[in-house]
Symmetry: C2
Subunit: 570 residues, 2 copies
């Protein structure tokens, strides 16, 4: 392609609203434009990269036995009612009424629809199956941001496995784990597989693939010594046990004028260290109140609360609601002697004595609280948020916590959909058994962006060879020079014939502009052709990633490009 | 792929609601399933064909200089308001309100959005451009039917050209004409390019590509002698002039008790031949009444009426509305002495005298009507529907009229979008000029179906080689026979290594079932491997299209397949 004829609208300035590097570079490099909030147009360079990302994904999923489908984007709402997900995913579902008066959902994911197709499976002999498609998804994100990292319309490869038992599921899950690792590797990313919450997916176990990035919206806790890594939503750690002093026979109420926070009580005369306090939170779980107790220095992890109670809507109670339930305001809350409310306590409080907590009367607290004696805890759960510096749950190492981008998520769904949608087959003995499902998702555009987050420098994008929009850019310093035109055309033709994708920069621009653009859009290899070099019989190779430059004899240019590409691929 | 592991759910019976052959065969062959009205799931075989159709289209559009984009499916309604098409296409647009309160349209086509991207073009130096994408479209068809031929969600390749002038547009239009012809050829269809109405597209000239089919919804008039062909919506013909007798000085009213139709009046004593009558129709054009006059034996072509009057909503008036306007009922209507109404007459009435028409009084007609003397015609237009047997407008030939499937449609849009959306560039002299646009559409799934309509027999589909889901099916007569397994695996491996796509039918089914399935799904070449043939050192080749069978030595099987494929490609 001649640059002079191509539509590559590079810009000098970053878009005003962009924070993520990938967002800035994709817009400045002429890869994409925003159409509206969370909705982007892929320009030719963007589409070339997108197509290559999809091809890599397809190749890897085909290699583990995937059969490609294409299921619709328009879904009848009735199927989503059967699984209940029309409610659990209500906040992001886009839907409308069609001319026939039916409610149509724009598919945010395809478990329901693939499961519906799978109702045609009748015998164990037809299993296992691995089905997938690469299809648009729609999710009405409240705050689309960071360019392609969080959008409302995007492409996803989602695969679905169908097995007779959990062993079969485990095998397909492991194969996906391998395929996904290979995909991220080819996309130039160091993705970590971490344990994650399954959220609204309906499954029990899931693994996310995370790439470290300052603009990531997910936090991961990872061990510096072993391979433990988990989304903060599910991460655990080992804490040193705390020795409590001998307790009192019953809690003692004392005045704490002006004390509103854990920190206030720590410095209050007669108060307590934060790890000797009980923090009492009031939550509404699908509208029903619950008290949530944590050690004073611990923070609640809301996703854990949602997962463990299987709640869809989890929110902190408002001031008025709190007062209605406990008769006191935040700052003086406690669960001692509270009766008739659902009380959930974090495991770290188990067996603790001589604790201090609110007295459910403003400006009063209780000390000497023995949690198992004095509080009617209904349920003990792992509810707190792990913090950096805590000990790994699997070894002696220390946990690090850092922001990441989720680039893939795979789920062991089990029989959730089989149960809801009647997915079953006859086994060897003629008995009806439910089909065991898995689902596996990877976002195409998000991975484009994540790859840039991991592959850029101050000059622009540094594409991994497999997804670069072009392998080589030939920069013609003086397009009006006849000899330059001839040589560049000859090298262009030779490379193109060999299957190399070449962008020929024949624009009537200053060389500096061309160099800057080539670096911005991130083409792995630049060949500069100028009259001075040609006089000496050479052209200049400049590798984008290393920045290395070297002169190459004109006659060897094409073969050296092929050698470079081969080396880059391996 | 081993058939035993593939999901190819063939059926014995046609789906109950299917009329079109392609619909029946795609469902019975396990290519697709309906999810809801006008919305289909592509199963693995269907997706393989779909991907090949898209690849052919991409290849041909790339070959004329196309740059691939991917523009969004979600469009802000504001852009559609600017062009007015939110109204002209209202009947098929699907839309919803998003969480931000904005109206979002599911793109039924992409002129608006490509034009919006093209506002970044600023100089004539950047033109011409040829942009395209292959993207889902949504159209809320009132009566989706015929399987993939008329659906509500489908994939379309739509390209858009941007030029400085109409000469540039003509060039790009001609290139598309050529690319489209090559595409339909490769899809195994004999598509005719015909003149068509541009409908709601906003352009002036358009060409449709039509494939003859009994289930087609468009009718084409084509000359048997020359290459004249046009959609009936725009077709014209040459009619012999009619010599009218000398007229009366003024119309004469006469009683016609019980006469309600043209045919009634033909046989009524004192009536008139249908071609000596004036038919008077009352229409509402965007809500405004108009009288439409035609020769008694001619039928109105509503699309011509819409196009010529640039009306969006065209409908016949109801009985009550007719009576309000003309004071009489259908059957006795006429335009003589009618004042203050918009009167449109078909060109075939020009100069006619001594005609008979309704008197605007039930059971009375007028004879001796001289149309130009007695009727205040405001506008003369070509409004009638051409009929089979009429003379070609371009030669002495006779017109044939037949049903067709529209498989592609290309439009010279001109400056409609430039004017509405402010698309302009500076020309050589620094003057702002509007960008001249064209748009070019081809539906992917409809072309799959149309190809089947043109390529099938009583046993099933007969795929053209380029879009067959697999090139070869190896039917193993006795999968439990060791030698059969060995030979089939060896041939399978050799072919696969050579890039041939092979389906290995190793199912434990009766040979008859396998043969029937292979013919139903339409694989171009079947290799049957059975113990008896192997004893003689041969396998059997059966060509799907010709039905020819011949024995081939085992050792030559792979090379003969390659020869077959090469011959089929050319």
């Amino acid at each position: 392609m001649r640059w002079s004829e191509a539509f590559i609208p590079t810009l000098r300035d970053d878009p005003a609203d962009a924070e993520a590097v990938s967002h800035k570079l994709l817009v400045r490099g002429g890869y994409m434009r925003q159409l509206m909030a969370g909705v982007y147009s892929m320009l030719p360079l963007g589409q070339r990269v997108r197509a290559k990302v999809m091809a890599i994904i397809k190749e890897e999923i085909d290699s583990i036995g995937g059969q490609e489908f294409l299921l619709p984007q328009l879904h009848p709402s009735t199927i989503w009612e059967e699984t209940g997900r029309i409610e659990t995913m209500a906040d992001i579902i886009m839907s409308f009424e069609d001319s026939k008066g039916g409610t149509v959902i724009l598919g945010p994911t395809h478990e329901e629809i693939f499961a519906t197709v799978a109702t045609e499976l009748t015998s164990y002999k037809q299993l296992p199956q691995l089905w997938y498609h690469i299809q648009t998804k729609f999710r009405d994100e409240a705050r689309p941001k960071s360019g392609l990292l969080r959008v409302r319309e995007f492409t996803m490869k989602d695969s679905y496995t169908f097995d007779v038992d959990f062993e079969g599921l485990d095998l397909q899950f492991d194969r996906h784990l391998g395929a996904y690792k290979r995909i991220f590797d080819r996309l130039g990313m160091d993705a970590v597989a971490v344990r994650a919450s399954s959220g609204a997916m309906g499954g029990k176990e899931s693994v996310e693939f995370m790439v470290r990035s300052d603009v990531g919206e997910d936090e991961v806790a990872a061990c510096s010594s072993c391979d433990y890594a988990a989304n903060l939503e599910t991460a655990t750690s080992t804490l040193a046990a705390i020795e409590d002093p001998g307790g009192m026979s019953e809690p003692e109420r004392f005045a704490t004028p002006g004390v509103r926070t854990i920190a206030d009580l720590e410095v209050f005369d007669g108060g307590a260290r934060s790890d000797r306090q009980i923090k009492t939170l009031v939550y509404l779980l699908d509208g029903e109140p619950a008290l949530v107790l944590l050690r004073g220095d611990h923070a609640l992890q809301e996703q854990k609360l949602a997962d463990t109670t299987q709640s869809i809507e989890v929110r902190a109670a408002h001031a008025e609601e709190i007062n209605n339930i406990l008769g006191a305001d935040a700052g003086s809350l406690g669960a001692v002697a509270v009766d008739g409310e659902r009380i959930l306590a974090d495991e770290q409080l188990r067996g603790r004595r001589a604790m201090t907590t609110g007295a459910n009367a403003n400006d009063f607290h209780l000390r000497g609280v023995d949690i198992e004696r004095d509080i009617a805890v209904n349920e003990w759960h792992e509810l707190r948020t792990v913090e950096a510096g805590e000990s790994c749950p699997n070894c002696d190492g220390v946990l690090e916590v850092f922001p990441t981008i989720e680039v893939g998520h795979i789920f062991k769904l089990g029989t959730f959909y089989a149960d809801k949608l009647g997915l079953s087959v006859l086994d060897e003995n003629g008995t009806m058994i439910p089909i065991v499902m898995g689902s596996y998702g990877i976002g195409v555009e998000r991975n484009m962006a994540a790859s840039i987050e991991a592959n850029h420098d101050e000059k622009g994008i540094v594409w991994p060879i497999e997804i670069a929009p072009y392998h080589v850019v030939i920069t013609v310093v003086r397009p009006d020079d006849e000899r330059s035109s001839e040589v560049s055309a000859a090298i262009y033709d030779e490379l193109t014939a060999a299957g190399v994708e070449v962008l020929l920069d024949d624009r009537k621009e200053r060389p500096g502009v061309k160099f800057t653009d080539a670096e911005l859009i991130g083409i792995p290899l630049r060949i500069t052709i100028g009259p001075r070099g040609l006089e000496s019989g050479v052209v200049e190779f400049a590798e984008r990633r290393s920045g290395e430059r070297r002169d190459v004899a004109i006659a060897n240019a094409a073969s050296e490009v092929l050698a470079f590409l081969e080396a880059a691929h391996s």
